[in-house]
Every structure is written in C-alpha cells, then in structure tokens.
C-alpha cells in the first residue's frame, strides 16, 4: 500500500484525530498485510511509536498492548495457553516479530488463529474512543467503528487449549478451535468462511456437544468443504475439552 503521507506520532490523541479526519486514512500496526495491498490512500497513521507493545500481568487480568507482536505473545509464559498455541504456527518467527495482536484482531481476517483463541477466552477490547467492549460483541458488529485499539484484556486463571489443521506447518488453518473453561465452557471455531463463532455451555456430555456442533455452519471454500471442516472440528473440540479438563 502506498500513501501520500505517513503520520508517526507518540501522541494517541493526534493519531486518533488524524485517523478520523480522513475517511480514507488507514492505521498501520505490524504493516504486514498493509504492505501486500495494492492500493493508495491519502494517509497512513503509524501506531508503532505509541508505546502499545507491552504485556502487563496483573493479579486479575493480563493486559496485552495492541502493538505487542505475535512473537511477544508466543514467548510470554503468562499469556493463556490457547493464545500462545494459536500464534505458534503463524508463518515464521520473522513475520511474528512484525505482526501484532491489534492488527490481527482489527483486520478481522476470517483465517485468523489468534482471534479464535481470544474469543474462547472472552477477551475484552479497549479502544481509544469507545472504551471497553467484548471481542464477541466487536465481531458481531460487522462494520468496525473507526477507532484505535489500545489493548486486549484477558482473564487470569482460565484453562484453555487451541488446535488447528494446516496442510503445511506455517500455512493458513483450514479450521481452528479454541476451548476455555472457568467452570462454564466457551468453544470458539474459526478459520471458516465468515470468521470465528462461539458456542457456550455449562456442562458438556458427548451427545450435547454433538448437537451444539450441529448448529454451526462451517462453510465451504477453496481451502476445505463444510463436511471436512466439521469432522476435523468435532475431533479437535473433543480433544481440547479433554486436555483442558485434565489440567484441573
């Protein structure tokens, strides 16, 4: 992507006002997908100087700055298991040193691995203007508001697990699932056409689980058929539930 102007600032208010002053302005987080796009925009707002590349662990929650890289997340042992597992096979270390959690979430890529894991963990998103909204609500509102994501907030002490199927190690997933439990179960299914969806349940017996999975439209595209995704996801969900339950 080319732009007439790239604005670099350490001031979040300036970044935000520049962004909303032009409807064609674009935010740059890691810049990886931006660079691949063949179009021109009047203004790019570079978020790399806003000091949003932190991971703060507090007693109640973990606060991940929107500009923390996927590699930062992978190598931080305090980050919930599913989230760390979800970034392990996102391209190579080099790309993970650039790509950020904010860019991954706000890009709303249907193939995203980390968004599935964050959804299972009931991540809360803190925006500059809107304040805090849940990732679940953010994904349901299909047209994202023009705002700047500041951080992703995850609860501490929730057991979780992520699984995905890729044809080669660093490929996009054909299907991914993440399971989290704090007593109630949250099961997210992603890398399907249309992005991740969520199932919640208080208890899970096999027949209940299968009828819950039956309610999901997995979707077919050039990567995999609906049926194939469903059979993989069913297996992964059962395995992930067993793993999460065994950690208690």
């Amino acid at each position: 992507m080319n732009s007439e102007k790239i604005v670099r600032t350490t001031d979040i208010s300036e970044a935000y006002s520049t962004y909303i002053s032009d409807e064609h302005a674009v935010l740059m987080a890691g810049g990886v997908f931006l660079k691949l796009q063949k179009r021109s925009v009047p203004v790019i707002v570079d978020l790399s100087l806003l000091a949003l590349d932190y991971i703060d662990v507090k007693h109640d929650a973990i606060y991940i700055g929107a500009m923390a890289t996927l590699r930062d997340i992978e190598t931080n042992e305090h980050v919930p298991t599913a989230v760390r597992q979800s970034v392990e096979q996102v391209a190579g270390v080099g790309l993970r040193n650039l790509a950020t959690v904010g860019g991954s979430v706000c890009g709303q890529y249907p193939f995203s691995d980390i968004t599935t894991a964050l959804l299972a963990l009931d991540a809360q998103l803190k925006f500059h203007n809107e304040g805090i909204i849940s990732l679940e609500a953010y994904l349901k509102n299909h047209v994202p508001k023009r705002d700047i994501l500041l951080e992703v907030i995850l609860p501490m002490g929730v057991d979780s697990c992520f699984k995905c199927f890729k044809q080669v190690y660093t490929d996009f997933s054909l299907i991914n699932v993440a399971v989290a439990s704090d007593g109630n179960w949250r099961i997210a299914i992603g890398a399907r056409p249309g992005g991740p969806v969520l199932i919640t349940a208080q208890s899970l017996k096999d027949h209940q689980l299968e009828s819950l999975i039956d309610t999901i439209a997995f979707g077919s595209d050039s990567r995999a058929s609906d049926e194939y995704r469903k059979s993989l996801a069913t297996l992964f969900i059962k395995e992930a539930i067993e793993e999460v339950a065994s950690w208690k």
Partner: protein
C-alpha cells in the same frame, strides 16, 4: 524524508521515500546480500535483524528503521562463513540464493535460544524456505554447527 540508522555498526543517514521498504533501502546502500524473494513474508530470504530481532525486510517500512540497529549478513561475515561451512559439508547448498536469510535466522536463533533441540530449530526456521536442496541436509548442518558453537562458548 531522511532517516538515520545503524547498519552493521556504522551509522547511515539516507533519504527515503515514505513508502519505501527496508529491503530496497539496504540494497541501494550496497547491502546486496539482502534479496527480495517471495515479497509476501513467506520465504525468509530478505531476513535481517532489527534491534536483534529477525524481520523480513520486504515488509518492514524503512521509516520504522529510524534510530534502529540493522544487521545483515555483511555484518557477521565470520559467523556466516562458519554456518556456510557446515551447510556445504552436508551438501545442503546449491544455488545459495536463500542462504543469507537462513544464516540471519540461525544467528537470531542463537541470540534467543540456548542449545535448542531439533524440534525447536525446525520451529524457529519454519519461515525460511529453500527451493533447491530440501531441509534435511540444512537441519543436519545447523545441528552440527550449534553443537560446536555451544561447546566453544
């Protein structure tokens, strides 16, 4: 616009276009080991270190290099020769096009990991593609190099 960055320990002040990518800036300044391969962050051939971290220079906007320390294979010639020796000894080198990126990834891995297992090495280097020799020979060479390098320290 103008940026100042350190490349292999030397300070450079250079004029860039705001949309310029680091691979192009480095090549213009004469660092021809840095090559554009896939241009989509998939192959790892353009890898350099920015402040000690491995990054694909084809997707790193040059203006973000302001004040940073860049390291290319030209800056680690001794280590590169050593790693190259172990790769060629395993017959793992053919055209050599991908080698600078692979060497930078091995160098970055050494900064980050202590005595990694073969699985950890494969995981770390999964973003570096080689089109002509396959990976088994590379892995053999890299494991032998790491063993010797670790014992030497």
């Amino acid at each position: 616009m103008e940026i100042t960055m350190s490349i292999n320990g030397t300070s450079y002040k250079t004029s860039i276009d705001s949309n310029e990518l680091l691979v192009d800036t480095l090549r213009r300044l004469g660092f021809k080991s840095v090559k554009r391969g896939c241009d989509t962050t998939s192959c790892g051939i353009c890898s350099v270190l920015v402040d000690g971290k491995l990054v694909p220079s084809c997707s790193f906007y040059s203006l973000r290099a302001e004040g940073k320390e860049i390291l290319t294979v030209e800056g680690i010639q001794e280590e590169a020769r050593e790693i190259g020796h172990y790769l060629t000894a395993e017959g793992a080198e053919q055209c050599g096009f991908c080698s600078p990126g692979l060497v930078m990834a091995v160098y970055a891995m050494q900064l980050e990991l202590t005595a990694p297992s073969l699985e950890e090495v494969k995981h770390y280097l999964a973003g570096n593609m080689c089109r002509c020799s396959g990976f088994e020979g590379q892995h053999r060479g890299i494991m032998k190099y790491l063993e010797v390098a670790t014992n030497a320290n």
